[in-house]
């Protein structure tokens, strides 16, 4: 629906549409939580003030968030390495993939929480356990998506590779990997969300430290406001990570997004 608005008016309309709900929600929460009498649902104002106090003024970021972030990055990176590595292998060597399928099917359907005690059994309660859990649980969507991505090579492309005698290495670097990238990123996006969730959970059980521990500990000692500040920080943190991820994705897959946009534009 094209109106004859000037460009800045149109941009303003867009901004309003995107922001009215979050703003309204925030205002409503502010008002209603302020009137709340429940011990467990403190006023938003108090929570935000406390968030500022605990996390920024008193260095909570450095003390609790940074260690979490480091563990998360380590675990996620490991998940990507394992997921892509095995994904390429299993994707290209079909007999192998089908042979180990019962094992992979079983491994990825085990609820991660069930693995926690086992991980503690072998890795203890420290960072090794946390990173191992994050990596093992997050790698499955990446693995599966990589397999699909690697296998979806167009047969025409295969013929091109064969007739021009493209070397194995070049095939891998210039065809299979880029071809699989969109799928790999789709899997990695899911993997990231899972990584964050696993990170929080393992920190609730492992050695002290990290945002998961903070939230759990605050709940157990009935410091409800502190617990809420943990949730707020977690929300912001997760959101920022996702934005970062999306920026990275747009960079790496610029050709893919541009190509899709072109195809959609052409068929519109």
């Amino acid at each position: 629906m094209k109106t004859r608005k000037r460009p800045w008016a149109r941009a303003l309309t867009e901004i309003i549409w995107f922001s009215w709900l979050p703003v309204a929600a925030f205002v409503l929460i502010w008002i209603f939580s302020g009137m709340s009498t429940s011990f467990y649902l403190p006023s938003a104002q108090v929570v935000l003030e406390q968030t500022w106090q605990v996390w920024f003024v008193e260095g909570g970021i450095a003390e609790n968030l940074v260690p979490s972030l480091i563990r998360l990055v380590a675990g996620f990176a490991l998940a990507v390495a394992l997921g892509v590595g095995f994904g390429v292998l299993l994707g290209l060597v079909r007999p192998l993939e089908s042979a180990v399928r019962p094992l992979t099917d079983a491994a990825r359907t085990i609820p991660g929480a069930a693995l926690l005690p086992i991980a503690i059994m072998f890795f203890g309660l420290g960072d090794a356990m946390k990173i191992a859990m994050i990596a093992f649980i997050s790698m499955w969507p990446i693995l599966l998506n990589t397999i699909e991505g690697v296998r979806s090579i167009d047969p025409t492309l295969r013929s091109v590779m064969a007739t021009f005698r493209i070397t194995r290495r070049d095939r891998f670097q210039h065809v299979f990997l880029p071809q699989a990238m969109p799928q790999v990123f789709a899997g990695a996006r899911i993997g990231l969300a899972i990584s964050i969730a696993v990170m929080v959970v393992v920190e609730m059980f492992g050695t002290p430290g990290g945002i998961g521990y903070f939230i759990r500990h605050a709940q157990q000692t009935f410091r409800v406001v502190d617990m809420w500040t943990g949730l707020v920080i977690l929300g912001i943190f997760g959101y920022l990570l996702n934005i970062l991820f999306r920026i990275l994705e747009r960079r790496v897959l610029h050709w893919y997004h541009a190509m899709i946009a072109q195809a959609q534009g052409a068929s519109a």
Binding site: T109, I110, P111, A114, P117, F122, I196, G238
Partner: protein, 284 residues
Amino acid sequence: MIQDVQTRPVGALRPARGRVRIERPRPRRDARELLIQTGVVVLAVIVWYLFTLTPLAQNARMPGPVQTIVRFGELAVTEPFWVAIGATVLAWALALLLSIVVGIPVGLAIGRSKRAQDSTHFAIDFLRTIPALALVPLLLLLMGPSLGMVVSAAFLTAVWPVLIQSIYAGRLADPALHQMARSFRLSRWDRVRYVLTPDALAFIWPGLRLAVTASLLSTVAAQLIGAAPGIGSAILLAQLSDRTDSLFAYVLAACFLGLMINALLMWAQRKVLWWHPSMRDRTK
């Protein structure tokens, strides 16, 4: 992994409740594949057994395959075992149902309107990144270690894939099909039933798949964190009382549950999406 559609010879048409279905021949290599897979599983079990002999496993008191199976058998005849399984399945199913009932209509509605999409864009983006399991401590405070707490946590995890895929469905469901339906003057109900729903379903299905597994994972995790009745707390209890064999037995149970749910999912997928192009070319 989607398995091959089975059995009947090519071209055999068989009406199934009013719908025509074309079946495909089972590929010859199925038997051989199965043999290899069984062999690999046996190998894995042997490796497991050998691993339990190592000092690392001995220290951790890791049970071997035989111990685990035996313990599993012992537990399987006790009531607490089935109570735990039942509680888990119940919570899983409730959370999934809630996700569908809330996620699909809301998602479709949002998907159809650009303004609605714009309005909810930030909210959805932000809320979906909050791991529902981080909310378990809060839910514990509000609801205690109850079924409601577990269902809430699982719902808050599983609803997002359903919602997001439903938004896609609302947005992208093939307009040509809509036009065709209207040109044939199908009644609104018929339209929904025969054209819009299958078409939208193809979009929504991946979200449902994710929701099914996400619901199970969150259910067990919430039970673990919050010590609510179910497999999760049974595992926690086993660990606290240092019964590693029970621990492994329950993990095995969780694994079986997951596999059964997965199989259910595959069956449902075949029934529901047999017509979809991605299902037709199953000769991998």
